[in-house]
């Protein structure tokens, strides 16, 4: 971080969400996008947005391809959120190799839509954010480029909610993880979703419950239906609770 960054990090900024950890936490290094635009990490990428962040490099043929396929499916699931309030950022692990032009070709070949940026920058700035967001406190892991091809962070700057997931994984799971950093839905919506979930559970139970009952009958386990009475146990519990009182 140069001297100018130091000031931008720590000067109070009224446009910043109240709950934000701010550039003092996230850092505010300068990066170049695959569209050859200069952006600051906090000010331009994080502030007021939901950011989905991973690390990759274009020549990675071992682990990255599967992860990238997974992310291309995720961008479809994000729908028109992508580029509006949600953004995907893929940072280079090998800034020496990954020029903006290289990244642009990579973005194009993977069908990246607007709102999914591929970024490169100085080794220092890249490592700073990698350690801030992905640090595992284990040198073996923290300095392995391969490890970081699988990690995904989801950050909502408006409420400082973070979620994380691993790549590759079914995109619907990642989309769900993104929803966890979004503001809590209105109660009415959650009640409706709860009823839908109950209906789904009931459909599953309609298949499993008779099987379970049949299994129990086959084992000769008869469910006791008599009135439940355990006066001795109740007396003991009463003694325990009274001793406490």
């Amino acid at each position: 971080m140069n001297r100018r960054d130091f000031f931008t990090c720590h000067v109070a900024d009224k446009s910043r969400p109240a709950a934000s950890l701010g550039p003092g936490y996230y850092s505010n290094g300068l990066f170049t996008t695959h569209e050859n635009k200069k952006v600051r990490f906090y000010d331009d990428l994080i502030k007021g947005k939901i950011s989905i962040i991973n690390f990759m490099f274009t020549s990675c043929d071992k682990y990255c391809p599967r992860s990238i396929v997974c992310l291309t499916k995720l961008q479809d699931l994000l729908g028109d959120h992508l580029g509006r309030d949600m953004f995907m950022y893929s940072f280079s692990l090998k800034p020496d190799e990954d020029t903006p032009a290289q990244l642009a070709a990579y973005a194009k070949s993977n069908g990246a839509r607007p709102g999914w940026l591929f970024l490169t920058g100085s080794e220092y700035d890249l490592t700073s954010i990698r350690f801030k967001l992905f640090r595992l406190d284990d040198p073996l892991m923290d300095f392995s480029l391969d490890v970081h091809a699988s990690m995904l962070r989801i950050i909502n700057d408006n409420n400082s909610h973070w979620a994380s997931w691993v790549l590759p994984d079914p995109p619907r799971l990642i989309r769900e993880a993104v929803s966890w950093v979004e503001p809590t839905k209105p109660f009415k919506v959650r009640v409706r979703e709860n009823a839908e979930l109950q209906a789904q559970i009931d459909r599953e139970s309609a298949i499993t419950a008779p099987k379970w009952a049949q299994f129990k009958r086959a084992c000769g386990w008869t469910e006791r239906t008599a009135k439940y009475e355990n006066p001795a146990g109740m007396k003991k519990l009463q003694a325990l609770l009274q001793a406490r009182a």
Binding site: A18, A19, L21, G24, Y63, K73, D138, L140, M141, S144, D146, S150, N159, S160, H161, W162, A163, S164, W165, V166, P168, D169, P170, P171, L173, W180, P183, T184, K185, R190, V191, N194, A195, L197, Q198, I201, E204, T208, K211, W212, Q214, F215, C219, W221, E223, R224, T225, K227, Y228, N230, P231, A232, G233, M234, K236, L237, Q238, L240, L241, R244
Partner: protein
């Protein structure tokens, strides 16, 4: 008041068809003398809910300085029964705000006369008089949560209201689920990590408080399956560390005719008469560590970067003292996480080590008490090492302690006390290592009738199920290892994986037939990695059959040799947490009885489980599965030949091995089974 009661009575016809009206229930519980208190949700929330302050930034280097031993050890209150309104039902009462769930299993058989209402809500808590109160979350708005006192044979239902804020900021998540660790509980009440519910909803958890094997062993299970010290805690996946760090955990104790909770004479020959009386001579010790900002707020940021705390906290107090009489006490040690591994020792005022006598492991009575003392010839008994979520009931005998002096419980690693030139409280005892002090006041008001019998229990006989094992299932708890591509045991880059997979709440990775028995081999196979995984398995307690050290290629993990270490003294009894250090594996015996549905095996380092080091497995009507993941999460069957789509899981080696197919190095296993070589040393029945 009477009119309100009348109204409620009318509206509370039980819809579950159990024939139990609220009136009978009131009568029944009144007859038993259980305090009944009508607690509506409103009155619980009547206390002012604190508003959440923003997180402090930048990250504090150290917590503020605190003076040791200025506050007494807090004892969490016991939970008070109530009569729930609306009345609990077999089916989820979604119309009245209950979270979705499957019907309670064996609801009628274990109908819960005793009912509790717990609100998970924001709170303020002061961890030390010199640090201002911090915003927290807790059961009933207290940290630690109320302690449940229970008796085997008395089923209970606990209604957990999620009253967490809808507009919370920072770490933790306002969706909640509670796991009662490690109750023999039906799946829908087990607090499965994916079954969380959102603010404004409640969920009834049915705890039948019954011995395992109740379906097959009359009457109502095997008393030798008793477990006594449990804890209940938030289990919302991906946010368990944050939610527990905020304070959502508490203890749950069970008593029976053997472990009665009373030391009085005349309880019958089976009663152990261990030091008894909750909060008097039977004391919970919930250990955790936290980092505090200068303004007193507990510090953390993201879900899986909960910091290592620099303050040792017992029952919500930093370095407290506890006044003791010159007699025996039962302390229930619990490591509630998030990640620290504690190793405890006890020193008197002269700096001489004093013994701690372990009577239960994870709440299960040991066959005989085991003594912890630094001079022990057994390395594992030179200090009491407690991994996350493990419990140990420890008897400390202060009979010969000198009134007016103090004894000190120490941890092997130091904390940050922060005051300049703090003197050694006892010779050779560093104040930074002292977790808490015991101040010896004088002789007890009445004679110490408690005993620590030389024989505490016998272990359930597992000879028959061991002879009828389905198979050995292998669970590789892997950290990412560079260059492991193509190695079936670590086929992905996923940082914390089990058999190469991470958690998907909708994907069972093993289907296990109800009533069957298996041995599970839990491995932390790569000696080169740095992390220990305290592995926890839901539903039933296991028996450690062998612990082995793996000599493997540090890069590829290829096995060179495996050396048996036998069963350490503290793993001779029943356990539910099995720590595996890098290069270790543990062979355990498990049964899957009574309940159907989804359960989990997972790493209980809260940061690791938030990184999805969890696996769902299901108890079904059978047959048991023979590959790690019977189906992909999109429903495609896993034939073991490839992946259904690029986003789904990779190809897997079958993770189950018939015993006859295990490599030669495994034949030294100490299974007491006919036809297995090297089974001279049988498993203790």
């Amino acid at each position: 008041m009477a009119t309100t009661k009348e109204k409620k009575r009318k509206s509370n016809k039980p819809p579950d068809g159990s024939g139990w009206s609220r009136r009978t229930m009131l009568k029944a519980s009144a007859a038993a003398g259980v305090v009944t208190m009508l607690t509506s949700r409103k009155s619980l929330l009547a206390q002012s809910i604190p508003t959440q302050p923003p997180d402090c930034t930048p990250q504090p280097t150290n917590s503020p300085a605190t003076t040791p031993f200025v506050q007494a050890l807090p004892i969490p209150p016991s939970a008070t029964p109530t009569i729930l309104n609306p009345f609990p039902t077999l089916q989820a009462d979604t119309a009245l705000g209950e979270a979705a769930r499957a019907n309670h299993q064996d609801w009628t058989q274990f109908f819960p006369l005793v009912q509790y209402s717990i609100s998970v809500q924001p709170c303020m808590h002061q961890f030390h008089p010199q640090i201002p109160s911090t915003y927290c979350w807790g059961y009933n708005g207290i940290y630690p949560g109320p302690t449940f006192l229970n008796v085997y044979g008395v089923p209970i239902v606990v209604r957990f209201y999620n009253n967490l804020p809808v507009d919370n900021i920072g770490f933790g998540d306002n969706n909640h689920t509670t796991h009662m660790h490690n109750g023999h509980t039906a799946s829908e009440s087990d607090g499965f990590a994916g079954d969380y519910w959102s603010p404004g909803l409640f969920k009834d958890h049915h705890y039948p408080n019954v011995y395992a094997g109740f379906n097959s062993i009359p009457p109502l299970g095997d008393p030798l399956e008793a477990q006594h010290t449990y804890w209940y805690h938030d289990h919302r996946h991906s946010f368990t560390a944050g939610n527990n760090y905020r304070g959502i955990n508490g203890m749950y104790l069970m008593y029976d005719d053997v472990d009665t909770g009373s030391e009085a004479a005349g309880q019958g020959p089976q009663a152990l008469c261990l030091p008894g009386g909750y909060g008097v001579y039977d004391i919970p010790l919930n250990f955790t560590d936290k980092l505090f900002c200068a303004d007193g707020q507990m510090y953390a940021t993201a879900p899986d970067t909960i910091p290592a705390g620099d303050k040792f906290i017992v029952n919500g107090a930093i370095q407290p003292y506890f006044n003791v009489f010159t007699r025996k006490y039962r302390f229930r040690f619990l490591n509630s996480g998030p990640a620290r591994i504690w190793t405890f020792n006890l020193y008197d005022n002269n700096g001489n080590a004093q013994p701690m006598t372990v009577v239960t492991t994870d709440g299960n009575l040991l066959p005989s008490p085991v003594e912890i003392i630094p001079s022990s010839s057994q390395p594992t008994l030179q200090g009491l090492t407690v991994y996350v979520s493990q419990r140990y009931d420890v008897i400390i005998d202060f009979t010969n302690a000198i009134p007016g002096t103090s004894w000190y419980l120490t941890n092997v690693a130091a904390q940050f006390v922060g005051n300049a030139a703090e003197p050694e409280p006892a010779p050779g005892v560093n104040i930074d290592n002292v977790v808490m002090a015991f101040n010896v006041t004088g002789p007890p008001p009445s004679p110490d009738l408690s005993q620590v019998p030389a024989v505490l229990t016998t272990l359930p006989n597992i000879t028959t199920p061991l002879a009828n094992l389905f198979a050995t299932r292998i669970w590789n708890f892997n950290d990412f290892v560079a260059g492991a591509e193509g190695d079936p045991a670590s086929p992905t880059t996923k940082v914390f994986n089990i058999n190469g997979l991470t958690f998907d709440p909708n994907r069972p990775d093993a289907l296990i037939q109800q009533g069957s028995s298996e041995t599970w081999l839990i491995r932390n196979r790569f000696p080169g990695t740095g992390w220990t995984h305290p592995v926890h398995i839901h539903l039933e307690e296991g028996r450690v059959l062998d612990r082995r050290n793996i000599n493997a290629n540090p890069t590829t993990g290829a096995l060179i040799s495996i050396n048996s270490e036998g069963v350490p003294p503290l793993e001779q009894g029943r356990r539910d947490v099995y720590p595996i250090v890098p290069g270790d594996e543990v062979l355990i015996f498990l049964q899957f009885r009574d309940w159907f549905g989804k359960y989990m095996i997972h790493c209980h380092n809260l940061g690791h489980e938030d990184n999805l080091m969890l696996t769902r497995w299901d108890v079904t009507t059978g047959p048991s599965s023979t590959v790690t993941s019977p189906t992909y999460s999109d429903g495609t069957p896993n034939t073991g030949n490839g992946e259904p789509n690029a986003g789904a899981q990779p190809n897997l080696t079958p993770a189950i091995t018939l015993l006859s197919q295990l490599p030669a190095s495994y034949e030294t296993t100490k299974l007491n089974r006919p036809g297995v070589k090297g089974s001279k040393k049988g498993v203790k029945a």
